[in-house]
Amino acid sequence: MNTNDTFGPEDNIRSAAFPKRRFVFKEGFLDGIPIGLGYLAVSFSLGIAARNAGLSPFQGFLMSLLNNASAGEYAGLTLIAADAAYVEIALITLITNARYLLMSCALSQKFSPETSLLHRLLVGFDVTDELFGIAIARPGKLNPYYSYGAIAIAAPCWAVGTALGIIAGNLLPLRIVSALSVALFGMFLAIIIPPSRANKVVGVFVLLSFASSYASTLLPYLSTLSDGTRTIILTVALSAIAALLFPIKQEDTDHEA
């Protein structure tokens, strides 16, 4: 095997870029394995939510393959379960996935300017917290084949895990389903708690979000709305308050992984 563990200047001399592509793809694939394993566990929990919303295993597989978004899919499912309007689904997807807009902004600086549109579309398709994290952590400009390698393992795990969650949700004992149901929330906590520790304002607003989310289930008018609609209202209101009272300094946005 001539898989170049050390690839030096001779790679640049070689006119065929193929061996380097394959090497970079493999690197991405290896880095994607732990991410894929994590996705398998979490998407299984998403599958349980999808089953409750009435999706078939194939529909769950398709949703996860096309969306690649934990919070976005979960929020969408709460609305699907409530038979919400299509425009509400679009709105909640926009809100819960807004962070990917920021990540893509950061990622756009990581591409060399001559990166083709096709590469940009393909890498952009699977910008997630974790895949963004490993792409941004690579030194130098991003080779799209690195991302393709990671996507090649992570995306199928995410989609298959969701389908398995829907199938096995029926077969597994209630105890196990109950335990696995919190995997998704564990993932959310893993995303929100480290920045809450680093930034007091984020921390305070996370606590305020918990409190107002709980309060809104008890309040007269808000409690009659579906979970998804409440999420939209509370997110927009609290984010606007935070942005008005505590506008961020420019450099804060870079810290978004």
Partner: protein, 102 residues
């Protein structure tokens, strides 16, 4: 169910895709408005927090197990556990507690 699930999925997929590829393709300028920048900065954390609580209490058979899983998740994430470790810790504590509680 009045609405078609495949249309739901298509809308979600289209919105997710557009959000992700716009900054990589068409929008090459930085967002200038400090309000919009700040709004987009806080929004992800707030929406995930809103969705986590109190929903985690109703995800498990016993709300107590859900509450403890929330605590375990916060503490382990606070001390730097990875996404996978946080998720598994939450699941494990629910499994253990419900063996006792139920």
């Amino acid at each position: 169910m009045k609405h078609n699930i495949y249309i739901y999925i298509a809308i979600m997929a289209a919105v997710s895709f557009i959000i992700r590829v716009l900054p990589l393709t068409l929008i090459r300028k930085q967002i200038k408005s400090p309000f919009l920048q700040s709004f987009l900065y806080y929004m992800p954390y707030i929406t995930l927090a809103v969705m986590t609580f109190p929903a985690i209490l109703y995800a498990t058979q016993s709300p107590i197990a859900g509450a403890v899983a929330l605590g375990v998740g916060i503490i382990s994430a606070w001390f730097g556990a990875s996404l996978f470790q946080v998720s598994v810790s939450c699941c494990a504590i629910v499994l253990l507690l419900e063996l006792i509680l139920i």
